[in-house]
Symmetry: C2
Subunit: 326 residues, 2 copies
């Protein structure tokens, strides 16, 4: 039996780093994780990463051929191959691609997690035949990746796709970025939590959310409470969808995507978030864009999506090289 | 002497239609205009257009070879080759490319005027070596064209680039599109006029703008009055720059352009509009984008820009075909 071509997909998260082999069909095999330990120097992390990958490669050398390595990481710059001052890691400015190319001598590429997710959806997921779409990742923060003319938009500096930091309300909530009213402060896991706490404070209506200690209030608990019909929890999803839909109408006016894919924690709330987002977006759209733009969930398997996206990134690069060579 | 390759550039405006030959270096020769007469049926217009072009071709047949026709027009759809229900023309839905290909048997392409301007700047103007930029046309309306990865963004339906209809204030001014608070209602020629009228009504401060009959108040007069140091006129430019700069920060967060080119009527006010736009944009930018994005004027000659853009559109198409053929 012949050996199978695979890429390694690496998703560097604040707490854990997931590693897996991704084949050309989008199967994720031999997945494993190491702790990121962001407080340690980067050298330690990459030494541990190298050891783990080497033991994976040794164990699979009879079946798999490594063709490249793709990485999704916070504050990653595709053009420079760097991670630049990530907020939750003590790494400073570090060239990840140089390190991995030296260690493994195969092509490597890096981008941020939302961009990796976009390429994952384009190659293996919900955007397979699309040339123009946007992915919005609703997690701890709000990330985004834009694809136009079949290509990911990196922009002049490699940092395009910060829809989470477009402004919903210039006098609104303080954002971690130092400004006010960013979409992220409303449509992230922390954002819906803030919405609930505001609503509980402003109203006297009964809600089982009142029984939860504010420190223990999570978006998952808000979801569960909404599913039980709790008014405040339902209103919080409605409000989140209103803010998200309103801002997405502006995004549509920029790049007129065929679809917007919602991905990550909050997107798992299904109709609770999709329905109000779609309704408010339609309400805010310029006529020419009405009833055209789909809002759809990711089609990548939740647990594997980030590693698949990272793997898809390098498959995409290898394809581009092949085209350029012809 | 050999003959010179030229494209015909056609800029269909609400009142007049400009026609000219555009060579590969971006020279505009033998420019002429016909009246658009938007109330007449489209057939009459295209009959007159055909006659004018034929007489141009006859007069120049010894020196020029026609390689293609590019058109800039309101509500044009690049993918369909159509003009679709333009607000100031009684044409309805009409396939312009079919008509012109039948009449002249050369390649033809159409897009809206802002997109044509973007391609004009990319081929012959201020964006010659840029792969990522945005053009904003500040005229009767506010149009825009986005270039990402060296290619114009048309989006899924051909109508991408409606930054003029992103929302500045959801409770703001009524827009011609039927919604409220669009950027266009502030940053267009009519927008700054509305700003001045509001300011004159709200304040008692002396202004020579009070001597102008509201019906005769134009953006040009506001500019001239501002240049004489009139406070209200200066404040109106400051406010216009604030609105424009604020919204452009959102656009930067989408596509991270190397530059934003301001084009058209209001852009002719120079520093009066560039300075506050840049200042407010910088003020609103996410840290990672600060001090990176240039705001620059068009480098196409004012009178020829629209025809050059339309000509550049078809040169761009012919180049793409050549690349695809290799």
């Amino acid at each position: 039996m012949g050996k199978k071509d695979v890429a390694i997909g690496i998703d560097i998260g604040g707490t854990n780093t997931a590693i897996g082999f991704v084949d050309t069909e989008g199967n994720c095999i031999h997945k494993t994780t190491i702790s990121t330990n962001g407080k340690e120097p980067a050298e330690n992390f990459f030494e541990r990463l190298k050891k783990r990958i080497n033991s994976l490669l040794e164990a699979t050398s009879n079946e798999l051929i490594l063709k490249g390595i793709g990485i999704g990481a916070p504050n990653a710059n595709y053009y420079n191959g760097t991670v630049e001052y990530p907020p939750n890691l003590s790494w400073g400015y570090i060239n990840v691609i140089d390190i991995l190319k030296k260690d493994f001598n195969v092509p490597a590429a890096i981008t941020n997690d939302a961009n990796a997710a976009a390429i994952g959806e384009m190659k293996f997921g919900a955007a397979k035949d699309m040339r123009d779409f946007i992915i919005i990742t609703l997690g701890t923060g709000v990330g985004s990746g834009l694809v136009c003319n079949g290509r990911l938009v990196y922009g002049a500096d490699g940092f395009a796709g910060e829809i989470g930091h477009t402004i919903y309300d210039p006098n609104g909530r303080i954002c971690g970025c130092g400004r006010k009213g960013c979409l992220e402060t409303y449509a992230s896991a922390g954002g819906i939590r803030r919405t609930v706490l505001e609503m509980l404070e402003k109203s006297d209506s009964p809600s089982s959310l009142r029984k939860i200690n504010p420190e223990e209030l999570t978006s998952k608990k808000i979801y569960e409470t909404a599913m039980q019909g709790d008014r405040i929890a339902l209103d919080a999803f409605e409000y989140t969808g209103k803010v998200l839909g309103t801002k997405l109408a502006d995004s549509v006016a920029h790049t007129s995507p065929e679809a917007i894919i919602l991905f990550g924690g909050l997107a798992a709330a299904g109709d609770l978030i999709f329905e109000p987002t779609k309704r408010h977006m339609e309400n805010c759209l310029l006529n020419v864009f009405k009833n055209k733009v789909k809002i759809i969930p990711s089609a990548l398997q939740e647990g594997d999506a980030a590693v698949l996206g990272a793997g898809a990134l390098i498959w995409n690069e290898l394809e581009k090289e092949q085209c350029a060579g012809n």
